[in-house]
């Protein structure tokens, strides 16, 4: 969640903006949250997996942050606090929407699964930078992300897209750092499995048929 300014400067600016908002300058609030709009939206998407729902929750979370700003103590970064509110709002929405399904969306605190066995040993090699822009690759990534179970997707998004630390991810999601690591491993290996067939040459060459690049 880089905002382009150095950390001490950013923290000072934020503290000043928070003071102004709490002093009644409502306009300063938009300035405060603007650098994190994308982070808030992405965090909501990681749980809800639906654009309209994610936007609704992002708005609710920002308004909630506004009305609770006087309670922000600065123990965490403002961005972490904001993302945490968003995660909580998104989970609430999910729970509300799924109530009729009689299923709990509360995740168990421990990851009870056993080991994950990779399904494919395709050798990806290095992904050339020009391949990163290929539409097929971006579409496959989107599908792979959407196909991840929610509890894995939220960890992957916070760690590998929003670049939160293990500790921040643990704090935001309310799970232990051990659980963050276990879920992150799962998420990354499942993503790899979902994308590996495409990387058997096809994303790189753009050819319809896979070009076998395995060295064995």
């Amino acid at each position: 969640m880089s905002t382009g300014t150095s950390k001490p400067t950013r923290d000072r600016n934020e503290a000043e903006l928070i003071r102004r908002v709490c002093g009644g300058e409502k306009e300063a609030f938009y300035e405060l949250v603007r650098p994190y709009e994308r982070a808030v939206y992405t965090a909501a998407m990681s749980i809800l997996n639906n654009q309209a729902d994610a936007e609704e929750v992002a708005q609710e979370a920002v308004l909630k942050a506004f009305s609770n700003l006087s309670r922000f103590r600065g123990e965490a970064k403002f961005s972490t606090w904001l993302v945490q509110i968003t995660i909580n709002e998104a989970r609430l929405k999910l729970r509300k929407d799924r109530r009729h399904l009689y299923q709990s969306v509360d995740e168990p605190q421990s990851d009870e699964e056993g080991d994950y066995f990779p399904k494919d040993y395709a050798d990806w090699r290095e992904v050339p930078s020009e391949a990163l822009q290929r539409k097929e690759l971006r579409d496959a990534l989107k599908r792979a992300l959407a196909g991840l179970p929610q509890k894995y997707r939220e960890v992957l998004v916070l760690r590998d897209i929003q670049h939160l630390s293990i500790e921040e991810t643990s704090q935001v999601l309310g799970i232990s750092t051990g659980n963050v690591k276990t879920r992150l491993l799962r998420a990354r290996l499942q993503m790899r499995d979902a994308l590996a067939p495409g990387f058997d040459g096809s994303w790189v060459t753009g050819k319809e048929e896979y070009e076998k690049v395995r060295p064995w």
Partner: protein, 78 residues
Amino acid sequence: MKVIEISCLEVWREISNYVDSDVEPELRARMEAHFKVCAHCKAILDGTRNVVKLVADGVEYPVPEGFSKRLYNKIKDV
């Protein structure tokens, strides 16, 4: 230093921590030695690194058009 061998299963358990440089030096040395001789685990390592690299820019979650303006209006209306 003699490097004690490590199984593929143990490597898979730690591969994500390895990518994050979050393993003890002793384990790191064992894993590095394993990757040199095990093409399967090396392929999984490369794939895992690629995943991290590919999702990093976050373009899979584009912010909807007009999002910023609608958010601004919401704040204004409070």
